[in-house]
């Protein structure tokens, strides 16, 4: 464990904040509930953005930008939606020194402003589909905030698509869920369960909300992304119709989907350790740091010359840094880069130079290996992939080990407190039974699997018939 970082086993919440501070990712701001995302934290967001943006474009989406402000009357047009969001909005009442005729809500999400715009864009089936994504900041007034996981302002992307048929909208909803799953698993090294939210947990205004859920190291669930099939709800609220090929007029079908800076919180809580942050290589802004270890100026010159030679064709192929600062000792530097989660550290001293080797140190396992400078870049690229898959496997093993089937409610109530974990339980579908999880143990149904084994059983609460198990856990 590192100086200044609480051990996970001592205080998980404190550990989380300590890792953020040690890796210099973010801090609270002068504005209640809002955070400052510091350069190290923002660099992670840029990596996440870069990959997701590429995946959105590969699936045919384009970016656009809609206003920050939503006239209050627009927000109120979809009944469920306003009920869900109005209580947590920030409201602009004055502009340019004057009281506004109509207050403006700072967007908590953009369905309403976007669908009031789509109304102008859509008349015919020829105008469909619309496949738009937006990278933006949104504001939801939060009482209890936690860096990255829950902040009043956060950064996110929100996709908003319009379709001619229910089938196409459903296909899009599932496609984007799959994009999120792929991103989580392949880039964040985060194994996720996918499924449908219950009526109680779905997005305000959606017909169905799909989600990805991951297990953190304290065995709680974190919802990483959601994809909503909005049906015709917003089209009806904003009177957006289109004429199909046969001249028939119908309301347009919609989806929306989003992930936010919350993913950075998930990244930290899933992979980091008592020494600080651990970043999966595919999302690491800096992948390799080289630390020459010298006793005197002569060593220094020789080591740096050899490092220059070894890395001469690395530029543009891998992001690396040579830490040749004079005013810090090697041990301090090791610790510094370890806290920041850089996947590979290369130690290189006079003995290594003599033996024609360098020492590679993995951040995730601390494993060291002495290797030849010949073919070093390829060796490093392989090692980065090993780290990536290793991180995923360990996270998956942890999750699977802590995921249980449970059929007895008393036993469930005990086990969810200790040892904790994910529980697959039978549920009859009744919201009254659903509420019992929350009441007794602050757990919730995280998802109903879409392609889970149909298994006849009895609701763990009321004993009525159930057709499949659902995932229950405490969550962030």
């Amino acid at each position: 464990m590192a100086k200044g970082i609480t051990k996970r086993s001592d205080d998980y919440s404190r550990w989380y904040l300590d890792v953020i501070a040690a890796a210099d990712l973010a801090e609270h701001s002068a504005v209640k509930g809002c955070m400052v995302i510091k350069p190290n934290g923002y660099a992670l967001w840029e990596q996440i953005q870069g990959q997701l943006d590429r995946m959105f474009k590969e699936t045919g989406h384009v970016n656009a930008y809609f206003p920050l402000f939503i006239p209050q009357s627009l927000l109120q047009k979809e009944a469920e939606h306003v009920e869900g969001f109005a209580p947590e909005t920030a409201v602009v009442t004055h502009g340019g020194g004057k009281k506004l005729e109509e207050p403006l809500v700072v967007r908590p999400t953009s369905e309403t402003i976007i669908w009031s715009t789509y109304k102008k864009w859509i008349q015919s089936y020829r105008d469909l589909p619309i496949l738009i994504n937006q990278w933006a900041n949104v504001v939801r007034w939060e009482m209890r905030t936690r860096l990255f996981l829950r902040t009043t302002e956060f950064l996110w992307q929100e996709g908003h698509t319009a379709h001619a048929t229910a089938e196409e909208a459903q296909q899009e909803t599932l496609q984007m869920l799959d994009v999120y799953r792929t991103f989580a698993q392949e880039y964040m090294a985060a194994p996720v369960y996918i499924g449908v939210k219950t009526e109680a947990e779905k997005f305000a205004g959606a017909v169905k909300t799909y989600c990805i859920e991951a297990m953190m190291q304290d065995k709680k669930a974190l919802q990483g992304g959601t994809s909503h099939n909005l049906g015709q709800n917003f089209a009806k609220a904003f009177d957006v119709t289109f004429q199909d090929e046969d001249g028939k007029v119908d309301y347009v079908y919609a989806t929306s989907w989003g992930v936010s800076t919350r993913l950075i919180g998930a990244l930290i809580m899933m992979h980091s350790d008592d020494k600080g942050l651990v970043i999966p290589p595919r999302l690491a802004p800096l992948k390799v740091v080289i630390i020459p270890i010298w006793r005197n100026d002569e060593d220094r010159e020789k080591l740096l010359a050899k490092i220059n030679e070894m890395t001469k064709d690395w530029k543009g192929r891998i992001s690396f840094k040579v830490d040749d600062r004079d005013n810090y000792r090697p041990g301090w530097k090791f610790n510094q880069w370890e806290k920041q989660g850089i996947p590979i550290r290369i130690e290189f001293g006079p003995k290594d130079l003599e033996n024609n080797q360098v020492v590679l140190v993995r951040r995730d396992t601390s494993e060291k290996s002495a290797v030849s400078p010949d073919g070093l870049l390829e060796r490093i690229e392989r090692l980065l992939e090993e780290i990536q898959t290793g991180m995923f496997s360990r996270a998956k093993e942890f999750r699977d080990t802590n995921t249980f089937k449970e059929d007895d409610f008393d036993s469930f109530k005990k086990r969810i407190e200790n040892p904790g974990g994910f529980f697959w339980v039978h549920w009859c579908g009744d919201p009254v039974c659903e509420a019992k999880f929350q009441e007794t143990s602050k757990a919730t149904i995280r998802l109903i699997p879409m392609d889970g084994d149909k298994e006849e059983g009895k609701c763990i609460i009321c004993g009525k018939k159930s057709e499949q198990r659902v995932l229950v856990a405490k969550s962030y």
Copy 2:
């Protein structure tokens, strides 16, 4: 000229809006003064962002993100700054259903929230410099708005740096001015004058404001970017001091610099024509569109097969599109892509197939050339560069032809109305004389050149001694 686009000579303002509509770049929203940036417009912003972000990083800057909201008391800490910005702010008075204890201002610019944060980050010279940039939305309440040029909400980047010495801050200010000039000239194909703003025109809170100014096709000036040396003003307002190597304590020196979605307005007004948008190739999201011209299905198959063959190794090297839509005629397609400003159109019909040629059409000059499919990509890349430099040369020639020296105020007053243009005039430095330009002809001093020829002369207004000419023009 194209259907639906007013001629520049008939109504320049109308033409500008028509081009935006024809190229589908943006539109007004349901929120007064705010625009919707449509996918075609946002793609231009992504190109601008991509290049600038690269240039910022190459000069050592990193990105971060600070809160959207600024407590009113923070905004008020720098006297000049609050005077300049307070009248045009949007104010949040309610959050989460309650009246806030202290109103929050939606950021019009972020100096105050950032310097209240830097106070926590800076103690020693070792903490300096801080070289941070932020991509964000900002809000300035505007009465008279115009798409891209002046909107209540706009997107921008704002750099905020902190330095140990006045010299370093000045160097940074000039470096970023140079980044903006380079970007304008090399990417936007926009020749710009650079210089210093007068006291009356400088940023509220700056010691000195530097700017780039370009001439639009109606001969008005448009300020494309500003770089401010903030001296110790904000450090003093927020009490940000540091200890230097000798233990001496001093206030920190600051700069800030920004460009916004306004650049898209400049791009349109500088290069477009009566047929629609013209995009400089280096900023074109789509560089080439290929339009096969068939009479029957057999032609269609043959042409598309040949196009596939010609473009088989283009992917990843150039962004291009084959417009093989069945339901539109070639003429309609030509017009469509012309309005959208795609730099090169390739026409390819059965005769071309027979003659083993394709026809390249330049968007900027409408010039056509029949060329061989062999080495086509290289030919296109050369042509794109020719278009880029041609656009710059024409814009520069236009500007130079319409830039004059003028020594008589009566003559100035006539000429600035007709034919209009940029006027280099002598000015004594007195704000009273400066105000005369505005009063008589709504023109302003756009800049004082930094490295202009020192030339003794007499102030065009009062006749007192002047040491150099300044640039006067009407502006956006």
